[in-house]
Structures are given as structure tokens and as C-alpha cells.
């Protein structure tokens, strides 16, 4: 994706979240697809505006959860039925009701671990270097400013026209993001 002589993208800075959400929506409508937003706190509407709902995380969590559930059940099955078949209160060796709690717990455990690891993986973390930090004012993204970045890999990207477009959205400042 790296273009040696180009820029990583264009970064627009906004004063409040509503402007950012409107800008993100306008950029999507204009046809931009490779764009990202940076905010000090989560903004629900932004997820909708950027169409970020479809990703692979639910599938990863589902597979993790199912793996956990089967692991929990089989662990107990092999322990109580095959390796240590002990008669407890005359119950059948395969007493499934008592397996449910561990099965449930391991489902949750594996699902949450897959969620965390899946999230890190999909975000490409850990990532020691990212070009957006080359924008001097970007540190404000973790305090009180809201940023929208249109990346140069977007087919519609053009330094002049995209800068103009971002300025037309009432961005406080538009800066180029160096690699």
C-alpha cells in the first residue's frame, strides 16, 4: 500500500463529534471508502456513518465460543465417563446437567479471549509505527479534537480535490499525512 513519494492521506480536524459524523457521512456519500476517524471517546453514530459494522469479529467470537463449549463438555465427558468412571449417587456416568455450567463458562471464556485477540489481530496491533502520528496536532485526538483521515490508497484520492472537499466540510484544518 505504501507509495514512496506520496502521502499516507489527508487528515481533517473537527471541533465537535457531530461535525465529524456529518463529514464522515458526506465522504462515504461522495464515494470514498478507505477512510478512518479518530476520536477521544467512542461515538456510536460514527460506526454507522463509516459502515464499520460488517467485520470478521463476530465469526471469530462464534468459532471461539463453540470451541470453548465443546472443550468444556468433552473435558468432563472424558474425565467422568472414560478415565474415572465413578458411580455418584447412582446417576448415569454421562450426567449432562452437571456438565452445563463448565460448558457455559468455557464458552464464555473462549469467546471473550477470541474477541480480545481477534480485535487485536484485525486492528493489526501491536503496531509500533503509524503515519497518522506525523500530523503534529494529532495528539489532540486523545483529548478534545475529532479527526477524519482519507487515505491515499482510495481510488478517488487526489491531493488537490480531496483537500478542497475536506475543507468544504468545515474542517478546522486539513493537513497532509506524511509516511
Amino acid at each position: 500500500m505504501r507509495k514512496p513519494d506520496g502521502v499516507y492521506g489527508l487528515m481533517a480536524e473537527f471541533d465537535d463529534p457531530t461535525m465529524l459524523v456529518n463529514a464522515a457521512r458526506a465522504a462515504r456519500e461522495k464515494g470514498f471508502r478507505r477512510l478512518d476517524a479518530y476520536t477521544p471517546f467512542p461515538i456510536e453514530d460514527l460506526t454507522d456513518a463509516l459502515h464499520l459494522h460488517r467485520n470478521k469479529l463476530p465469526l471469530i467470537v462464534l468459532i471461539g465460543g463453540l470451541t470453548g463449549g465443546f472443550t468444556g463438555y468433552l473435558l468432563q465427558y472424558f474425565t467422568t465417563v472414560i478415565y474415572y468412571p465413578i458411580n455418584i449417587a447412582g446417576r448415569p456416568l454421562h450426567s449432562w446437567p452437571s456438565y452445563i455450567i463448565i460448558t457455559f463458562e468455557l464458552t464464555i471464556l473462549f469467546a471473550s479471549i477470541s474477541a480480545v485477540l481477534g480485535l487485536l489481530g484485525l486492528c493489526g496491533l501491536p503496531m509500533p509505527y503509524h503515519p497518522v502520528f506525523n500530523v503534529p496536532r494529532f495528539s489532540a485526538a486523545s483529548r478534545d479534537r475529532f479527526f477524519l483521515c482519507i487515505e491515499s490508497t482510495d481510488p478517488l484520492f487526489d491531493r488537490q480535490s480531496t483537500t478542497k472537499f475536506l475543507e468544504s466540510l468545515d474542517a478546522k484544518e486539513v493537513s497532509e499525512v506524511e509516511h
Partner: protein
């Protein structure tokens, strides 16, 4: 969008519809009451059983709706504004529902073994419990439960009207301040209600999970009902202009959570009794797993838990008005089966499953009357509380 630019009053088309639904409910109710009277004449014992079951189901929707109303005063949020008016209308039916308890108070001796002195004298456990399980005290508790709920309903609705007239303060503070203690009272009232009216059908048996099962049950019945009514109202003004998929998504998530809560409590009670395997505890399940009742239990496992759980996992489905309404109606139907499975096996002293036409009469009669009351109350106020402190947030939700 500002609150002032919108008309929250029920549009005339919708009002015509509500009146038409109300007339239908009245017709159904009258048919049901006729069946009930015939049932009372032919078989009083069956009449009281059927009545108790249907009464607990519909009272659960009314009281549960009031619980959601109080919860949203405490938590705030856009979903609360959306459900407030239907929930208030459901809560306003409680004083009349309290009066409908009278047949149970009259027929208590037919329903409850502890009401018979010869049975009590022969059973040391019942003798021991007689200080609690006796008719005067039973009646005192019923009056406290229904009276307390009626009082909460009257106060919350009076202040809500005041909020419409005078603005959010001080009405909102009054409602929010009452809602904390009100919710605690609701949980205790549901617990005592479940012990008195349902668990004591089999007075030797006990379960500490019982009250919570009814708390989850009422919560689920009422949120499924509120979703159904919201989707129904969303087709016309004013809600067609206000309700977004986000509001629906929020209440859909609440229904999802309640499906899981119910399953969690149900399984916990079953696991504890199964693991203990004690002769005084297992009869409750033993009589519900034979004589046809075992199939009802299977229907509950799949229909009340597995199917709604699997479907409600989907985000798209929770944001689809039509599909979510279908699931809500299905859940409401499963709640009917669940309450039946809880009440009837003990009320028939462990007899095999044999539904009666009087069951149908009780369901139509109480349900028809209740729906008529609810729709009548719903038509009385604007469908969105314009002075709610979260109104702006609610109107911008999902736009």
C-alpha cells in the same frame, strides 16, 4: 429536529384503528366471559385453575410494563422515551386487574390444599407452615401486593401528566425518586405473589429460585408485549416519524437479555433440584415430566429459550420491525405456555396434561378485558412524552 416541530398526538387514522382494535378486544372479552360463566357453572374447580393461570399471565404483562417504566426513569436513555406511553397505559390497567383478583380470593379453597384444615392436620409440614399459609394472611398479602402496585401506577401516571402540563421539573424528579423503591417493591411483590399464588398450590414444595423466575418472566412478557405494540403503532403517525431502527434495536436487546435471564434462572432451579435429588424437592419436576407435560417442557426448552436466543443473536433481525415483532409475538405465546406449565400441574395435583375449553375461556376473557382496558388507556395521551428530559436524545437517536 426539535421537539416543538413534531406533533406527538395520536393521528386520527391511528385513533380509528385503536378504537377498532378495542372493539375487537371487547368482543373477544365478552365471548371469553360467557365461556367463563359457563365454566364456573359446569366445573368450578377447572374454572378457578384456568382463571388463576390466565390472570397471572396478564397481570404479569401489566406489572412488568410498570417495572420497565420505573427502570427507564432510573437509567434514562432513548429507549425509555419510546416505551413510556405504552408502558404507562399498561400500568394504568393494574387497579382494575387488582379487582379481578376477587374470583381467586373466592375460590381459594378449591385451589390451595393449605385451605383445608383436615389436610393441614394430617401433614406436619403444613401444620408448621400454617402461620403463613392461612386465608386471612393470604388476603392481606394479596391486598398489599396489588394495592402497592396500584398506588405506584396511580402516582407515576399522575406525575407523568403533570410533566406534560408543567414541564420536566419537578415531575421527573418525583418519578425518578419513586422508581428506586418502586422497583425494589416490585421484585418483592412478584416474589411473594409467586410463592402465595403459584408455589403454594403444592404447599409441601419450595424453591428459592421461584420468585426470580417470575421476575424474569414478567420482564420478558412485558418487553415482548411492548415491542409488539411499538411495531404496531410505528406504522402510523406520530411514531412512524419518530421511531427508528435504533430504538427498536435497544428494546430488542432487552428482550434478548431477558430470554437469557429466564433460561439462566430456569436451569439453575432445575440443576439444584436435580443435583440434590431430595424426595421433598423432586416431585415438582416429576409431575411436570410425565403425562404429556414432558412435551410441554421440551417446547419450552426449544421455543422459550433456544430458538429466540439463536434468532435474537442477529443484529439485523433486531433492527427489522416486522421480524422482531414476529419473534416478540412468539415469545408472548411461549410465556403463555410457561405460565401454564407452572400453574396447572400443581393445580390439578399432578394429573396428566388435559387442556380444557375453560382455559380458552379464561384466556380470552381476561385477555380481552385487559386488551380493551389497555387500548382505552393508550388512546388517552400523546404517544411520546414531549417533556421527557431525554426527548432530544430520543429524537436524534439513530438519525
Amino acid at each position: 429536529m426539535t421537539a416543538a416541530a413534531l406533533d406527538f398526538n395520536i393521528s386520527s387514522d391511528l385513533l380509528t384503528d385503536i378504537r377498532r382494535w378495542r372493539t375487537r378486544a371487547m368482543v373477544v372479552g365478552v365471548i371469553g366471559v360467557i365461556l367463563l360463566v359457563l365454566g364456573w357453572v359446569t366445573s368450578p374447580a377447572q374454572f378457578y385453575r384456568s382463571y388463576l393461570w390466565a390472570y397471572i399471565y396478564f397481570l404479569g404483562i401489566a406489572a412488568g410494563s410498570m417495572a420497565w417504566l420505573m427502570l427507564q426513569y432510573l437509567t434514562g436513555g432513548a429507549w425509555g422515551v419510546a416505551i413510556r406511553r405504552p408502558a404507562e397505559a399498561a400500568a394504568r390497567t393494574i387497579p382494575v386487574m387488582a379487582v379481578l383478583f376477587v374470583p381467586i380470593a373466592i375460590g381459594y379453597a378449591s385451589l390451595y390444599p393449605w385451605a383445608h384444615s383436615d389436610l393441614v392436620a394430617a401433614d406436619p409440614i403444613l401444620k408448621h407452615k400454617a402461620a403463613y399459609l392461612n386465608f386471612p394472611f393470604f388476603l392481606v398479602r394479596a391486598v398489599a401486593i396489588l394495592g402497592g402496585w396500584s398506588l405506584l401506577s396511580v402516582l407515576l401516571n399522575r406525575w407523568s401528566l403533570r410533566e406534560d402540563r408543567e414541564g420536566p421539573r419537578p415531575a421527573h424528579n418525583l418519578m425518578a425518586r419513586l422508581s428506586g423503591p418502586g422497583l425494589i417493591f416490585w421484585v418483592f411483590a412478584v416474589t411473594f405473589m409467586s410463592i402465595d399464588w403459584v408455589m403454594s398450590l403444592n404447599p409441601d414444595w419450595f424453591s428459592t429460585m421461584f420468585g426470580l423466575l417470575f421476575v424474569a418472566g414478567q420482564g420478558l412478557s412485558s418487553i415482548a408485549f411492548l415491542i409488539t405494540i411499538l411495531v404496531l403503532l410505528s406504522q402510523q403517525r406520530p411514531l412512524s416519524e419518530i421511531l427508528t431502527t435504533r430504538h427498536l434495536h435497544d428494546v430488542g436487546k432487552l428482550m434478548f437479555a431477558n430470554v437469557m435471564l429466564w433460561a439462566y434462572f430456569s436451569f439453575s432451579q432445575w440443576l439444584i433440584i436435580w443435583a440434590g435429588n431430595l424426595p421433598e424437592e423432586i416431585p415438582w419436576y416429576a409431575e411436570r415430566l410425565r403425562g404429556g407435560w414432558q412435551y410441554v417442557a421440551l417446547v419450552l426448552v426449544f421455543g422459550h429459550f433456544a430458538l429466540p436466543f439463536a434468532l435474537l443473536l442477529s443484529r439485523d433481525l433486531k433492527r427489522n420491525f416486522k421480524l422482531l415483532r414476529r419473534i416478540a409475538v412468539f415469545v408472548l405465546a411461549m410465556r403463555v405456555v410457561d405460565v401454564y406449565w407452572f400453574v396447572i400441574p400443581d393445580a390439578t395435583r399432578g394429573a396428566a396434561l388435559s387442556p380444557s375449553w375453560i382455559d380458552v375461556g379464561a384466556f380470552l376473557g381476561i385477555g380481552g378485558i385487559w386488551a380493551m382496558l389497555f387500548l382505552g388507556q393508550l388512546a388517552k395521551r400523546p404517544l411520546i412524552p414531549a417533556n421527557d428530559i431525554h426527548i432530544i436524545e430520543a429524537l436524534e437517536h439513530g438519525r
